[in-house]
């Protein structure tokens, strides 16, 4: 039970942490300086969610691991985030499509978790649900403009959507969620979010004149700690400072 809750919190925290790291890449690289700041804001919101969830995971686990220990001193196989958020996103269209998918899912998840019987988790969700509402709004506006924009932007957005779509399904994988957590009303079954999340995404891509991709799901096993090649590079960058200079402060 404790182990199940720790694992659940780590998975949600890792989603937010790894996504945040990818968002930060855009600072100084966005199409406009205003968007640099927006991406930083979104990434920092996610980092805040990750901090709360990882700190609580460490507390529940009871081995004295802090949020920093969990973020910086775990190895790739110990991270439980979905593969969707760990892959490189050096195309702005990909970044916005992915943000649309991830924030739509996070938003439904956190909205449901505000009713969790675990009051700490409900509290984290209560704060995050307002943040993710804005993330979703931000992604939606860009997807609409780029999808229903010029011929070039439309083609690139459709390519981005086709590339990201296979990684969406893992968000609804519930194999890592302990059944007791569901019975006690602590966790939310991710599979139960599928209809509302996909409906929300479908609404946006329809208005953006994009076609729902007809592609097979990727073999995505991040929830088991099995990640894509790019995850190692992400962790190397994210963890380097903390590992090379233990206890460093500034």
């Amino acid at each position: 039970m404790t182990k199940g809750l720790t694992r659940y919190l780590l998975a949600l925290g890792d989603d937010a942490l790894v996504s945040s790291q990818r968002m930060a890449w855009w600072i100084s690289r966005s199409p406009q300086i205003e968007e640099d700041i927006a991406m930083a804001n979104l990434g920092l919101d996610q980092l805040g969610q990750a901090r709360s969830l990882l700190a609580y995971a460490g507390e529940v686990e009871g081995n004295g691991r802090s949020e920093d220990d969990l973020a910086y001193l775990r190895d790739e196989r110990d991270f439980l985030n979905v593969c969707l958020v760990e892959r490189e996103q050096k195309d702005f269209g990909v970044a916005m499509v992915r943000l649309l998918m991830f924030s739509a899912w996070q938003h439904e998840l956190y909205a449901a978790l505000t009713g969790s019987t675990d009051l700490t988790l409900a509290g984290v969700a209560g704060k995050a649900v307002k943040e993710t509402a804005y993330h979703l709004d931000h992604a939606e506006h860009w997807v609409l403009r780029l999808g229903d924009g010029t011929e070039e932007s439309h083609l690139r957005m459709q390519a981005a959507l086709d590339a990201e779509w296979p990684w969406l399904a893992e968000l609804f994988d519930n194999s890592f969620v302990n059944e007791d957590l569901l019975l006690q009303g602590i966790a939310i079954d991710p599979a139960s979010l599928r209809e509302s999340v996909e409906g929300r995404i479908a609404g946006v891509i329809g208005r953006a004149t994009l076609a729902r991709p007809d592609v097979a799901d990727a073999l995505s096993r991040g929830r088991e700690g099995r990640h894509t090649e790019q995850m190692g590079y992400l962790l190397a960058e994210m963890q380097h400072l903390a590992r090379s200079h233990p206890e460093v402060t500034w």
């Binding site: 406009q32 205003e34 700041i37 927006a38 506006h141 403009r145």
Partner: protein, 93 residues
């Protein structure tokens, strides 16, 4: 993308106060300008309301007209309500 139009941003910091010019930014359209303004100018709880206005819609006074516009007000002390007592507790006056 400097080809995008320029917008002027006005923020109301709290209820009861006026919107005050906060700065400017680029955005493709009004909805995006509003969102950019939220992200750029209200990160530290600066506001409860935002207006964005196309910079091209603003007609500004010219520095060349400074003398005729503003100097004549300089010697008209009777326009200042200095003969009233301000009641206690009145704020933002």
């Amino acid at each position: 993308m400097t080809t995008e139009p320029l917008w002027e941003v006005f923020i109301r910091s709290r209820r009861g106060l006026s919107h005050v010019h906060a700065g400017s930014l680029h955005a493709a359209d009004a909805e995006m300008a509003l969102r950019n303004a939220r992200d750029v100018y209200t990160r530290r709880e600066e506001g409860v309301s935002i207006w964005v206005v196309p910079a091209s819609a603003i007609e500004a006074s010219s520095p060349e007209e400074k003398d005729s516009f503003f100097d004549p007000a300089g010697d008209k002390g009777y326009r200042h309500p200095t003969f009233y007592h301000v009641p206690e507790g009145v704020q933002h006056l």
